[in-house]
């Protein structure tokens, strides 16, 4: 089938976009922002089988991001703006004279404006064997799927050709797939484009320490294959050989300019479609080229997404201006709103910050010191794999720099580029703790400083969002300015700016916990810990709001303080038992009765079944108890058994039997650790690589009873197949051939979130130590009822900050976090065992204080599917009609 749109006659003018990558998608958004999707027909030819996705984050597929989650295309946006998106249908020829594009399916589209955003293709050196089975490139989701399948099915060793930015990412991915990994780089150091010799050396040491084998200063001469035609190894130019089952070529990219060449557009000597300052091709005013396929007017091809975005904006602005001019010429003023601004792209900054194989690498500005008369300031510490270099101009201005191993200062330094920093340069590269402490906050930056280079957002714009639009949180400011929504490297600085701006403008943000306390939960935690205050009333009377002191507090702060005191109990010398002393009055009803209140006033009971492992004897006890007390039973999502329909006065009797059989509280009622699920793991499963059940049991027993801002869930999977769904947990563990990967901040429920990888290939001891720190840091800094997922999204710096704190100990608090956890573990006692042995506490478990043997008549049950369910009509019988309104 072929359709041809009329060219330039009557119908709306047509814009055809070839290539729906990241830059293509940004271009479409820029068209929509300028109203052009309303006035123009927009047709997109997309070669890949899926709409634009986040190529920059491609590697996160291997840490669990699904292709759907990688998407950057909002299909509603496409539909709403009437954009015609043709998936899996690449443009094959362009007829510039007839202004027509023909796609592979035979579709023919006429254009008034043609925009090429075809990106790049990976360069594969012309060595023998390069097309053998087992050779791959690393560019698209399809490439990754193929690598994953091949690695799992038939590879134990992998080699990456190319030690640049992408090569290291690919190597990280192969290592993550459990392959012994080699990197072959022709240049004498890794990442030759971004870092200098010193930085390369620091990087090399760190990467070798991770167990990767690096071959620098040597090229790939031949890919060796076996009898079946599949890869078995590589011959290197230094005469050595590397045995490998899989090869990934990552030796740079080349602009995809074939389509342009074929239709006679001018391309550069080394490739790239030549464009002018407006991203218009130099050969044809109706054709534009943007992104990685374009050769910019400064003679460079930009292989980064930020410059591509800028080109997309420039092209859209230029097209909008032309459309306005056309409309004006045609006397049709109303056709277009918006003013014809002018835009140009004349080159961009190549600053990057990446986390490669867990190592921070950043370079910005004139990183290699190409300017005349510039000087270097270098700090290197080979032991820690840290290397920092700043390039300083003759006038003291910061020109650029390289940071390896610790790139915390990147956001601030990048923004200072071009100006003289208010602090001596050597102070900027010294690690915290060495020399005089320096605070180079973003408040000292000028308004024109670019904070977010992905979206070109200045400090002034961010301040404006706070002062003019009264946004008070980082997510709001992100949404308003787009800052921080690209590579994310600026979010930390963004957070600092928002806070300092709020403080400066004197906006009174009441972050107080409730009407009784003006402090946040985190602040109360610090007060309780530092001053060892174990009494709620003392805290309220001394630190509560003026008018709340001496009062009775409220239902918000009581359990919150109760939880803080409980988590810190052994350390501050407080009563750890939640029913002891004053603690009793602070607990929600669930904690007060150590069971979960259900809708008719009855309770449910969940004994702990660590890791979901249970003996037949114990199963029988649960069955007998449930039968004897007439309870409804159900298997929970956390791999344990919930028994429903117990009356208050039955709880101690039931628990006496359970404790006797060796059960203990499962804390299903508390804001505390729930379960650590597990899959059956290495012991039984043919795929398992570690004993996931044992680890789950160990973890559940370690953290049981730990009171936290919200419930905590965990799971351990025995291999990457992830049967235990660890990535939907607050902390999830997945076994690897070398140990354990720790994921944090996952959540199921109403707002699902995939957990983020915190650290890889940990030993048992390392894993436990890291979880200790992570949990205690969360408990310390989270808000009330804030799950780890929302906490990670909220705290300034997000995952990176948490990693800095708990892995790299940037705040120097890890020792304290660990000792807090050790104290908790040592002080753990089973609440139910304690309660059934305490007659005074037991006397509270009655429906009526004046008739201890009488059950609550409102709690009744009727049969359903051979079990019981609440008798709901009982809940309405005998209730007095509500005065004034019908019962809700």
């Amino acid at each position: 089938m072929s359709t041809t749109a009329p060219v330039g006659t009557g119908a709306r003018p047509t814009i055809v976009l070839v290539g729906h990558g990241m830059v293509g998608q940004r271009f479409l958004e820029a068209l929509a922002e300028r109203g052009l999707t309303a006035t123009h027909r927009v047709v997109v030819l997309c070669e890949e089988p899926r709409p634009a996705y986040d190529r920059v984050q491609l590697t996160s597929y291997f840490s669990g991001r699904t292709p759907e989650e990688l998407s950057v295309t909002d299909l509603e946006f496409i539909a709403e703006h009437g954009i015609e998106l043709h998936l899996g249908d690449p443009a094959e020829t362009v007829d510039r004279a007839a202004r027509k594009v023909t796609a592979r399916s035979g579709l023919v589209v006429g254009y008034d404006t043609l925009v090429l955003a075809t990106g790049s293709f990976p360069f594969v050196p012309p060595v023998p064997g390069k097309d053998a089975e087992g050779c791959f490139v690393y560019r698209t989701i399809e490439d990754l799927l193929a690598i994953e399948e091949y690695a799992k099915a038939r590879a134990t060793t992998g080699a990456v050709v190319g030690g640049g930015l992408l090569g290291l990412e690919a190597a990280g991915a192969l290592k993550g797939l459990g392959l012994a990994t080699h990197i072959v780089e022709f240049a004498p150091r890794l990442m030759p484009v971004q870092v200098d010799e010193g930085g390369g050396a620091a990087l090399l040491r760190t990467i070798e320490n991770m167990g990767l084998t690096v071959h620098t200063g040597t090229g790939t001469q031949e890919v060796v294959t076996g009898d079946d035609g599949a890869v078995t190894g590589m011959k290197l130019s230094d005469g050595s050989t590397v045995a490998t089952d899989l090869v990934v070529f990552s030796a740079g990219v080349r602009p995809r300019d074939q389509l342009a060449r074929d239709c006679g557009l001018t391309v550069g000597e080394r490739g790239g479609i030549s464009v002018d300052d407006q991203c218009r091709t130099v050969s044809d005013p109706r054709v534009f080229a943007i992104g990685e396929c374009a050769l910019a007017s400064d003679g460079r091809v930009y292989g980064l997404v930020a410059p591509g975005y800028e080109m997309a904006e420039t092209a859209a602005t230029t097209i909008a201006a032309a459309a306005t001019a056309d409309a004006t010429a045609a006397g049709d003023e109303s056709a277009l709103t918006g003013t014809a601004e002018a835009a140009s792209f004349t080159g961009a900054d190549l600053s990057t910050k990446l986390k490669l194989l867990g190592v921070d690498v950043a370079s910005f500005g004139d990183a290699h010191g190409a300017a005349a008369d510039c000087l270097d300031v270098v700090y290197a510490d080979s032991r820690s794999g840290t290397y920092k270099k700043l390039v300083i101009g003759p006038g003291g201005e910061l020109l650029g720099g390289i940071l390896v191993g610790d790139a915390d200062a990147y956001g601030t330094l990048r923004a200072f580029t071009g100006s003289v920093p208010p602090i001596a340069p050597e102070q900027l590269v010294l690690p915290a703790g060495a020399g005089a402490p320096v605070q180079l906050g973003p408040s000292s930056l000028p308004d024109e400083a670019i904070i977010c280079s992905c979206h070109n957002v200045t400090k002034g714009a961010i301040r404006g969002a706070v002062t003019e639009h009264s946004y008070t949180t980082v997510p709001e400011v992100k949404k308003c300015t787009k800052a921080g929504t690209g590579c994310g490297s600026c979010v930390k600085v963004l957070g600092q700016l928002v806070t300092s701006e709020l403080e400066a403008s004197g906006v009174e943000v009441d972050k107080g916990l409730c009407g009784c306390f003006s402090q946040t939960r985190e602040e109360l935690y610090e007060i309780v810990l530092a001053l060892r205050i174990s009494s709620y009333q003392q805290l309220l009377d001394r630190y509560g709001r003026e008018d709340a002191r001496g009062g009775d507090g409220c239902e918000v702060c009581k359990p919150t303080v109760g939880s803080i005191v409980a988590s810190l109990a052994p350390t501050i010398g407080a009563e750890g038992y939640v029913l002891g002393g004053e603690q009793a009055a602070l607990q929600d009803t669930n904690d007060h009765f150590l069971a979960n209140l259900q809708k008719n006033g009855s309770y449910s009971i969940v004994p702990r079944i660590p890791g979901g492992e249970i003996t037949p004897e114990k199963l029988i006890v649960i069955g007998e108890v449930a039968r004897d007390f007439g309870l409804y039973t159900k298997i929970t999502g956390g791999q344990r058994i919930d028994m429903f329909g117990a009356r208050v006065e039955q709880l101690p009797l039931i628990w006496a039997r359970l404790v006797d059989a060796g059960f203990e509280s499962g804390h299903a009622y508390g804001k505390s650790l729930r379960t650590v699920k597990s899959c059956v793991g290495q012991t039984w499963c043919r795929y398992g690589v570690q004993d996931s059940v044992r680890m789950a049991i160990d973890l559940e027993l370690r953290y049981r009873g730990l009171r936290s801002p919200h419930k905590l869930k965990s799971a351990v999977s025995g291999c990457a197949r992830e049967c235990a769904e660890a990535q939907s947990k607050d902390f999830g563990i997945i076994a690897t051939a070398a140990g354990w990967n720790l994921y944090v901040g996952g959540n199921g429920g109403a707002t699902p979130r995939h957990a983020d990888l915190l650290a890889q290939d940990l030993s048992d001891a390392e894993l436990i130590r890291l979880i200790d720190r992570f949990l205690m840091f969360y408990i310390r800094t989270a808000d009330r009822l804030e799950r780890t997922s929302t906490w990670l999204e909220r705290i300034p710096g997000g995952l990176d900050h948490v990693r800095d704190v708990v892995v790299d100990d940037s705040l120097g608090i890890c020792e304290e976090l660990e000792s807090l956890m050790t104290a908790h573990v040592a002080a753990y006692r089973d609440e139910w065992a304690e309660t059934i042995n305490d007659p005074e506490k037991l006397s509270r478990f009655v429906s009526f204080v004046n008739a201890p043997d009488t059950p609550d008549p409102v709690v009744g049950f009727v049969p359903e599917r051979d079990q019981i369910k609440p008798d709901l009509p009982l809940l309405t019988i005998g209730t007095r009609p509500l005065e004034g309104s019908a019962q809700r």
Partner: protein, 119 residues
């Protein structure tokens, strides 16, 4: 030797409808925990939630939560809001003024209050 003070234990009593001195004994005062409630069953089958605040004042309201019908108000957390004492239902967290029975989160809803004393 001085005389030891009289050690009679105080009893919590609720006033029932009927003659002026129709006080119904519920339990010893020492059973109540400041900041928490207990439930009492009245002779006519109605349920009352009794609370003690930190200053020693007592309050009594109907135990049925009008929003869910469950008899659970005695198990809620108490607090004070602008000097007025309240209890929050443990089910859906609506708050009720302990002195007046008025629901603080819905003007149209109110629970019965009872007179209570320690005697």
């Amino acid at each position: 030797m001085t005389l030891a003070p009289e050690t009679t234990t105080l009893t919590v009593q609720l006033r029932l409808a009927g003659p002026d001195d129709n006080w119904f004994a519920v339990c010893d005062l020492s059973v109540l925990i400041p900041g928490r409630g207990v439930a009492a069953l009245l002779p006519d089958g109605r349920q009352v939630a009794l609370f003690l605040d930190r200053t020693g004042r007592m309050y009594a309201i109907d135990n049925r939560d009008p929003f869910s019908g469950a008899a659970v108000l005695s198990r809620g957390l108490t607090g004070s809001h602008q000097g007025r004492p309240f209890v929050a239902s443990p089910l859906l967290k609506q708050r009720f003024d302990l002195a007046s029975g008025a629901c603080l989160d819905d003007d149209a809803v109110r629970v019965t209050t009872y007179e209570v004393r320690a005697h």
